[in-house]
Amino acid sequence: MTSLPGTTQKKLGLVIDLDVCVGCQACATSCKEWNTQGVSAPLSDAKPRSAEPMGTWLNRIHGYEVHDEGREDARIVHFPRSCLHCETPACVTVCPTGASYKRAEDGIVLVNPETCIGCKLCSWACPYGAREYDAPTGVMKKCTLCVDRIYNENFVEEDRVPACVKACPTGARSFGDLGDANSAVSQLVRERGGYDLMPDMGYKPTNKYLPPRARRDTAVVEALPKSDGSAMEKLFAWADKLMSAPKASARANESDLSDRLEG
């Protein structure tokens, strides 16, 4: 059924800390590794060793350059992007076959590969680019929140988390029930001001992003040692001058050389 459940018992999802993410791609590769043999199998690759490799991935790590107001220097924010398991996802309601569905028990959005006709309309309906069409198998693929790990009783308790969360070396990814106000992830969202992507789209994402923390002012060096006029300092100043002079002439030589080469 592509009609959405009114409420879900749990709202399982991820909290992604943009302050901590270093863009190492470990979550993306572990996701690919797990899910190409899990319920989403296969995540196909086309021409993987050619100049134009194409492949289905459920998690993509972007890099953005952010300029804070009133600062000249920029900062780099690594930005993992995957399915947000929205509360009111149009990717589910547009599905004509019922292959896309949102689970009433935990809110996970899934695709049934047995009934998907590969019309791609769900990928058009997703503002977050979370769904990727797998051409060789002719069906749509998306993040399953590792539904085959998180309930897997063959795993020890600590391994029952999505592969991306398990793989993250900096702890930038947390998994839990965002519908439970007392859960660790909900507390994290409260403490750090976790936010929704494109809230005006109205899809009510479950996954939350934690903003990068305010920056310490490392660009300005505050405590330059003041001159005390000692003999030692004069010696260093003289040495500095001595060593600076040949550099200037060396640079002149370089330009001469380049002139000659160009000529």
């Binding site: 592509t2 890099g63 930005f79 590969g118």
Partner: protein, 308 residues
């Protein structure tokens, strides 16, 4: 958006087919039984052939065409499913109408209700087609009040042009058909011009800052992969967008050619109605291609565009 050629063929061919079917329903409603069995059978065949070609071609872009029947199940939530249901239900209605209208089955009192049913089902199917696009909040150029009216207007106008051509073939070309075509082409031109003006002057709803939540001064620094992925191929199509101005002029030129052909078929010889049908269908195909190419999906905000 990447224009899938099968979808362009589908929406233009079936649009014309449903437009023709609706008009034939209207003809039956006004005039009762057709004066010629050959004309009735041929025109019904053309309408259903256009619809069927369209529907079949729409299954070509599916990953699993053999599962297409499943698309009839989710009409409660999905406009694509509703379109499929409406399209399938139109067949028996159209066949029944064709049989009584042509006189192959002698039941003249059924012509009027079945004619109305043809009109209604055709309009409903094209309405659903338009709604598939108009309901997508992710594509501001589609999520627009004029999307559905343009689909309906193009369907009717191309249907009327095809009707004029088929009528000519059977010596049943009438001045009224020319007037109908001219009015519908004028409606198309007005609606499409309004639509283009609206999307050109629309204020972008989302920025890269909204998409990432990182505020007003965000720039793409590094893409997540070395080659383009499905998202970029499907949603990031820009080939025709670069030529949008030229293509818009081409649409208008084709519509103008259709108008001239309509006038010539009236004033010189009805055989110009074939040029009319060809020009109108050309305009519809280029317009549909542009409809895809000019659509900017918000997911592109993650891939470097500033606003959508």
């Amino acid at each position: 958006m990447n224009p899938a050629y099968s979808v362009i063929l589908f929406t233009t061919a079936s649009g014309a087919g449903y437009g023709l079917l609706a008009l034939l329903g209207l003809v039956g409603l006004n005039h009762g039984q057709a004066s010629s069995v050959a004309f009735a059978v041929t025109s019904m065949f053309v309408a259903l052939a256009l619809i069927t070609i369209g529907l079949l071609s729409s299954t070509f872009h599916l990953g699993h065409p053999e599962r297409a029947w499943r698309a009839l199940s989710q009409w409660r939530s999905s406009w694509l499913s509703r379109e499929g249901v409406a399209a399938v239900l139109t067949y028996p209605v159209a066949l029944a109408f064709g049989l009584v209208w042509s006189g192959l089955v002698d039941a003249p009192r059924w012509i009027t209700p079945l004619g109305i049913a043809c009109l209604f089902m055709s309009a409903l199917t094209v309405f659903c087609t338009g709604k598939i696009y108009a309901s997508l909040r992710t594509i501001p150029q589609w999520n627009h009040g004029l999307t559905v009216p343009v689909y309906l207007a193009f369907g009717l106008a191309t249907g009327a042009a095809v009707l004029a051509a088929v009528a000519t073939l059977f010596g049943r070309f009438q001045t009224f058909q020319v007037i109908l075509v001219l009015v519908l082409l004028a409606v198309v031109i007005v609606l499409k011009s309004l639509y283009w003006r609206a999307i050109d002057t629309a204020i972008p709803r989302f920025t890269m800052g909204d998409a990432t939540g990182l505020g007003g001064h965000v720039r793409q620094w590094e893409v997540p992969h070395t080659n383009v992925n499905f998202i970029q191929k499907e949603m990031g199509y820009v080939v025709a967008r670069r030529h949008a101005e030229k293509l818009r002029r081409l649409v208008m030129l084709a519509l103008l050619a259709a108008i001239i052909a309509a006038l010539l078929s009236w004033l010189v010889t009805p055989w110009f109605s074939f040029a009319l049908a060809a020009a109108a269908l050309c305009a519809a195909v280029v317009e549909r291609w542009l409809f895809f190419a000019e659509a900017t999906h918000v997911v592109n905000l993650y891939y470097g565009i500033d606003k959508a």
